[in-house]
C-alpha cells in the first residue's frame, strides 16, 4: 500500500458518521523501492505528481508519512514548493516508492481495523456490516 493510495481511503460506515478518515497506520514492515529496481523517468514522475496534487489531502499525507517513519515532508504546501521540480520528484518518491508491506489501518472514529498483508489492504466487510447498499 502506497501513501498515495492511503490518501484516498476511508471507513465510510454508518457508525463513522460520514468521516472515517484518515486511517491510522500501525506499520510492522515497510519497504522503500530502490530507484534502480524500477527505473526513473523524472519527466513522467513530475507530470504524474502535478496531476494528482490537487486531489491529495496534504495533512493526511504528512501524518501517514510520519507513521511510516518519514518526517521529511513540510507541514504545508506553498506556491514555491509546487513549482519546484526537485520537491516534486522527492514527493513522487514518498507517494509511490514507499510501501506498507505489513501492518494495520485503524478507523479513527470506530476503531475498526483493516489488515495489510503483502502490501495488499483488506477491506472485506463482514456480513453484519453489509448494509443494503442498493437504493
Amino acid at each position: 500500500m502506497r501513501l498515495l493510495t492511503h490518501n484516498t481511503l476511508r471507513n465510510n460506515s454508518a457508525e463513522a458518521n460520514g468521516k472515517g478518515y484518515p486511517l491510522k497506520i500501525s506499520a510492522v514492515e515497510v519497504r522503500v523501492d530502490d530507484a534502480s529496481e524500477v527505473g526513473t523517468d523524472s519527466e513522467r514522475e513530475i507530470a504524474f505528481v502535478k496531476g494528482i496534487l490537487d486531489m491529495l489531502d496534504w495533512k493526511i499525507l504528512v501524518k501517514a508519512a510520519a507513521e511510516l517513519g518519514l518526517n521529511t515532508l513540510p507541514p504545508t504546501l506553498n506556491e514555491n514548493l509546487v513549482n519546484d521540480d526537485n520537491f516534486l520528484r522527492a514527493l513522487y518518491h514518498v507517494l509511490m516508492n514507499v510501501h506498507l508491506v505489513k501492518g494495520m489501518l485503524t478507523c479513527p472514529d470506530t476503531g475498526r481495523e483493516f489488515p495489510v498483508t503483502d502490501g495488499t489492504v483488506d477491506f472485506t466487510m463482514e456480513e453484519d456490516e453489509c448494509e443494503n447498499v442498493r437504493y
Binding site: 500500500m1 502506497r2 498515495l4 493510495t5 490518501n7 484516498t8 481511503l9 476511508r10 471507513n11 465510510n12 460506515s13 478518515y21 523501492d33 529496481e37 524500477v38 527505473g39 523517468d41 519527466e43 513522467r44 507530470a47 504524474f48 496531476g51 494528482i52 490537487d54 486531489m55 489531502d57 509511490m96 510501501h99 481495523e113 489488515p115 503483502d118 502490501g119 495488499t120 489492504v121 483488506d122 477491506f123 472485506t124 466487510m125 463482514e126 456480513e127 453484519d128 453489509c130 447498499v133 442498493r134 437504493y135
Partner: protein, 534 residues
Amino acid sequence: MEHHSEISHNRYNVLIEFAHIHLEFQRPELESVLSLHDIAIGRDCIEVPLPSSIPTVENYRPFLILSFDYHYAKEKFNLDDDGYVIQSDMSRFSKIDRTKPTIASVLSRCTLIRSAIELWGAGPSFDSCVEHARQLSSGCAGRITLENCMKLSSSWKITIHTLGTKFNREEQNDMRMKFAFFNLPGKVQMVNPTNEFLLIREVELDPKGTPLSQERDNFLSPPLAVYYGRVLGGIRDWRGNGRLDQFSLKKRSYLGPTSMDAELSLIMTNLGLVRNGSFCFDPFVGTGSILLTCGLRGGYCVGTDIDIRVLRGRSDEENVLSNFKQFRLNRPDLIRSDNALYHRHYRMNKPIYDVIVTDPPYGIRAGARKSGTKEEKIRAIPEDRRHDHIAQTKVYPVSDVMGDLLDVSARTLVMGGRLVYIIPSMRDFDVEKDLPNHECLEIAHVCYQPLQTELGRRVVVMKKVKEYDPSLRESYLSSVWINGPESAEKCANIRERLLEAAKLKPGYEEKAAYRKKRRQITREEKKKQRAKHV
C-alpha cells in the same frame, strides 16, 4: 485518362493494411491511437475511398487510405522515416515525444495494423496504378517525396504482395520493371535495404479473410485494386515481427482461468487512451492481465478484487505482482474490496483516474461475488475471529455489477477519462437499448468479438462528459437500464441462457446422463484412494 483522381499527389497519402481479425475493433483502435497524438480523421486528415475494379464490394477489405495535407504532415511527423521505429521493449516505449514521431511509430501502436506504406500509386488495375505512380512528381507532395527518396536511397528492393495468387519469377519481374521509370539510385538489395517498396495486388476476400478463387476458365480474374508505395517503419509486417510475443500468455508467470488473450487487452488499453503516466484502475483485477498491459504502456496501476485467492496468486512466484516484476514495472497497488461497496472505502472527493479498464465478472467462468450473507438473520462475528474470517459472499447479479461499475467510473474518472469494459452478449443485441447507461458517461465505441455462433463479447468504451453529483446517486443507479430488467437480462445470466440453448440441442439428455455417471465414478475412485491412505 482514368486514374483515381481522389488520391491526389498534392497530398501526403498513407495506405494502411489491417490484419484480418477483430474487424470491428480496427477503426476504433486506429482512431483512439491517432487521438493520442491529437489527430482526428476528418479534421486533420481525410479518409480516401479505396480504388475498386468492382462497383460494389460486399466483403471486408483490410485497407484504408489516409490523406494528409503535406504541410500538416511535415509539421506533425518526421517524414524521413528511416530505420526501425518499432521498439520491442515496450516498457520504455511511449516516452513523451519532444521530437516529432514518425508515422510508423504512431501507427505501430495499433495491434491490428500489419503495415503502413507511403502511397506512390494506386488504381483499380495494374496499369492504372502504374499510370498514377508516373504522375507522382506532378504533385507538390509527391515531388518532394520522390526527391527525398532519391537523396536517401542507397539500396532498395520491391516486394510483391499478391494475396493468395501465385505468380512465377518472370511475371514478378515484369511487374517490378513497370516501375523502373523511377530510376532510383543505388543498388537492389534483398536483405535490409534502406528502402523497401511494396507492390500490392488486392483481391476480394471471403468473410474469413481467405482470398476468393481467382481463376475462372483458366483466366486469372482481374485484381480488386493495385497499390505501390514505400514501406514505413522499416518492417514489412509489424505483426509478423513477433512484437506481440513477449506479451503472449505463455510468457507470463501467472495465469488464471480468466486471463484474456493478450491482444485484446492491448487493444483495450489503446481504446482507453492509456499513455505514459496515465493513472489506471481495474476494479475487478483478477490475475491482472489488463492492468499489466496498462503498466506496459507507462500507466500507474491500482487494482481491486474481492477474491483474496486471486490476489494472492498461487505462490510468491506466481501472482499479480510477479507479472509486473517480470517486466520491471512499478508494482500496482492492490486492495481487496467489493466494488459494490466502493463508496464505503474511498474518499472520492475528487476524480482521480484517467482510465478504468476492466473485464467484469459475468458468471460464466469466474463467478461474481459481492459481500453479504445468503441467510436472513445476520450474526455478528466475535471480535477475536474477525481478521481471519472470510465473509460469505453472495451472487452479484450482472446487472448490478454493471450499474456499480458505471457509477464508480462516473465518479472517479477525470473529465474526458475513459471506461473500457467487456460485456458478454448474444449476437442479437440492441446496442442502443441494451447497454447500461449513465448520465455522466457517453458511449464512444462498441466492438463485437464473436466467440461462438451466437455468443460473443462486446468491448464498450465510454467517456466521462459530465461532472458527477453525489446527491443523484440513487437516480443514476436506477436509470442504468433503459429497458429495465429486460436489457439487464440480455447481459446477465448468459450461463443460464447457454444452458437453455444447450438443452434444446439433440442428444443433450444422453450427454448429461453420461457426464453424471462419469462424475459418480470419479467420486467413488477418489473415495477408494482416500480409504487406502487412511
